[in-house]
């Protein structure tokens, strides 16, 4: 078993990056070297021993690189009835021939946009994996929604992942939306191989005045995937950002989601659902930062855990001294279906302003036996009654998905899971 030493892995990863972004990459490298891989002493990774997992599963810590994706594979992984646009990626490399041209939206390779302020929103100093990605991301895409554009149909980022000799995949997405723009993104990752890989993704979203951005993320890559997904956005005045994250599988998944509220009269929403079984481990770290007065945030994460799966929820809310009249709400509810399933949940509120409304709560329990008996006493089979109750619990999160075909797809996936595995 090799030990991950930061210089060692960086040499291989850096050798394969193209030209451009030299300063950005250098800053990422420096930030990564300062922080190193998290150890079990790192507070932020206390419950998620990702370094150990990487050492066990990833033999070739080199970039996986691009590969060929077929039109059939694309077709098979777009949701039934989906009417929006599709952007296809192979291990983070954009596949223009398989992708739609989106009317009114600029899509370009990051390498063609050398002045993109990479790392200005997802700052590399905050997290080693974010820094690692900044030092050595592959490919990368730039998406710009112009001012006042209302993009009716969602944009699906369809990511195909495959270990390809190298087992490290580091996609990078930069999205910017002009003032008053409205747009919805769906991230869907598809695993094409049984060989374990490490996907270290970073997505930065830069909002303008009064922009409305929705960002959905479906994680269902199977038991060989190790993933760190960093999503960070800045919300400006009158803006709104809504994230819905659905995790259905993964050997080890860590989501770092951060919303920085930088303008007043704005709103940040974070919703999440994790349905875990087997030995899956999903860790959601969220960060809601209210820096100015008059803003609102809503956060609801729900988990159903079976077998010996493990869920981690860490929800930080900062209300800075200037952020008077903030309304911030956070909930995390979990149902454990087995004695071996574990949840570590930690709300973390830091409030410096004195005129705010903030609440948080977390619950972890078993399925409500009284409700189960009530349904059975009306003739409903026990398994089906369980499914009905669990779906009722989970459905609240899915209600926040506005695109119908994607919501229906998620509902079907969730119902299938609740019927078969629990």
């Amino acid at each position: 078993m090799s030990t991950l030493i930061k210089q060692d892995i960086l040499v291989e990863l850096l050798a394969n990056v193209g030209t451009g972004f030299e300063q950005v990459r250098a800053a990422g490298k420096e930030a990564f070297q300062d922080q190193g891989f998290p150890t079990n002493k790192s507070e932020e990774y206390k419950f998620t021993a990702i370094t150990k997992k990487l050492e066990q599963s990833i033999q070739n810590f080199a970039p996986a690189g691009a590969f060929e994706v077929t039109a059939d594979q694309v077709k098979a992984n777009v949701f039934e009835g989906y009417a929006g646009d599709v952007l296809v990626f192979a291990n983070g490399h954009f596949q223009p021939s398989l992708s739609s041209t989106i009317e009114g939206v600029e899509v370009a390779l990051l390498s063609e946009k050398a002045d993109t302020a990479i790392g200005s929103i997802a700052k590399p100093g905050k997290d080693p994996f974010c820094a690692l990605n900044q030092s050595s991301f592959e490919g990368g895409i730039f998406i710009s929604v112009p001012k006042k554009a209302q993009i009716q149909m969602p944009i699906l980022l369809l990511n195909f992942f495959k270990a390809n000799g190298g087992q490290v995949i580091q996609p990078r997405v930069w999205i910017e939306a002009g003032d008053f723009a409205e747009v919805t993104f769906i991230n869907h990752s598809v695993n094409l191989s049984d060989t374990p890989y490490f996907a270290n993704k970073v997505m930065e979203l830069k909002g303008g005045l009064n922009t409305q951005i929705r960002c959905y993320n479906l994680q269902n890559e199977g038991k060989n995937a190790i993933e760190v997904s960093t999503t960070e956005t800045d919300i400006q005045k009158d803006g709104r950002f809504t994230s819905v994250n659905i995790s259905l599988s993964g050997e080890l998944v860590r989501n770092n989601l951060s919303i920085n509220i930088l303008g007043s009269n704005s709103e940040g929403n974070m919703y999440g659902l994790y349905l875990l079984n087997g030995k899956s481990h999903v860790d959601n770290h969220t960060n809601m930062d209210h820096t100015v007065a008059h803003s609102e945030s809503n956060e609801l994460y729900k988990g159903i855990l079976a077998d010996s799966s493990r869920g981690v929820f860490n929800g930080k809310i900062f209300v800075r001294q200037d952020a008077q009249k903030t309304n911030a709400f956070q909930q995390n509810n979990n149902i454990l279906l087995s004695e071996d399933a574990v949840v570590n949940t930690k709300p973390q509120l830091e409030i410096w302003a004195d005129d705010v409304k903030c609440s948080h709560g977390c619950t972890t329990g078993q399925l409500d036996e009284e409700a189960l008996f009530y349904l059975q006493a009306r003739g409903i089979a026990k398994d089906q009654a369980k499914g009905l109750l669990l779906y009722a619990f989970a459905g609240e999160v899915l209600d926040h998905i506005t695109d119908e075909s994607f919501r229906e797809y998620c509902i079907a996936q969730v119902q299938r899971r609740l019927g078969s595995n629990f």
């Binding site: 006493a377 009306r378 003739g379 459905g395």
Partner: protein
């Protein structure tokens, strides 16, 4: 229809029922009364199959089948219905979807065709009238935010939808005002037939002014200590339960 012989049941090792004997025939209404803690609700729960209770002795047969062998859902499909003392609020489960699932699972078991959406709605509208249910309630989550009276009415409405052969009403009258009591009783009376039977578990005689029982049984310390006609209920109402307790306790000491 229902035959209970020497039924003993306990919860977490504490015996509650200590030898119940009861015969219920089709077309009959039985009232089970008794002071608090006598085991009335336990009896109702054991018959419906609540798992917390352990049957330690005795047998229960329902339409010739060993009821105690059946899961709660199979008991319901066989025709046992328990109107809950405390109907459960279930957020996120719509009343209509729940009921359609229940009705169709019960129908399937009985060899009847599943109801399509239109037929189900027609049946629902018909049965709603029985208990003067507001249709708005059915578009909400099951029992969520219902008042006490609405919850009890919903129980009788579900009973009407599932057409049971044995209905057990567990303290359905408690907490109801007189109007709600009249509506609920009226519903139960209309559902009565020569082919089905009703067991009314209650602390008070009041309900029995509206639903006239054929037999009244007094439960005390986990046993039926006295049985009689509906006049027994009036006597209990007038004199309370103490004389029964005294009678039983003196018998025990002799």
């Amino acid at each position: 229809m229902l035959s209970i012989k020497n039924l003993h049941a306990s919860i977490e090792g504490t015996p509650i029922l200590r030898g119940i004997n009861l015969e219920v025939k089709a077309g009959e209404v039985h009232a089970i009364m008794g002071p608090n803690g006598s085991g009335k609700s336990t009896l109702a729960s054991v018959l419906a199959g609540r798992e917390e209770y352990e049957v330690t002795e005795g047998e229960v047969s329902f339409k010739g089948k060993n009821l105690l062998d059946l899961s709660p859902e199979v008991r319901a499909r066989e025709g046992v219905f328990l109107a809950f003392q405390y109907p459960v609020e279930i957020p996120g489960v719509s009343s209509t979807n729940f009921l359609r699932t229940a009705v169709n699972q019960v129908r399937e078991y009985r060899g009847e065709e599943a109801l399509d959406a239109v037929k189900f709605l027609t049946l629902m509208k018909e049965k709603m009238k029985l208990v003067e249910m507001d249709q708005k309630l059915l578009s909400r989550a099951l029992n969520e935010g219902f008042s006490g009276g609405e919850k009890k009415r919903n129980e009788i409405f579900q009973m009407a939808m599932l057409a049971p052969t044995l209905s057990i009403l567990d303290e359905t009258d408690s907490g109801l005002d007189i109007d709600a009591l009249r509506i609920v009783s009226n519903g139960v009376n209309q559902l009565k037939s020569k082919d089905n039977a009703t067991i009314i578990v209650t602390h008070y005689q009041r309900l029995l002014d509206y639903i006239i029982p054929d037999f009244v049984h007094v439960l005390y310390n986990g046993q039926i200590v006295k049985s009689g006609s509906k006049e027994l209920a009036l006597e209990l109402e007038e004199k309370g339960y103490d004389w029964i307790k005294d009678e039983v306790d003196s018998r025990a000491t002799v």
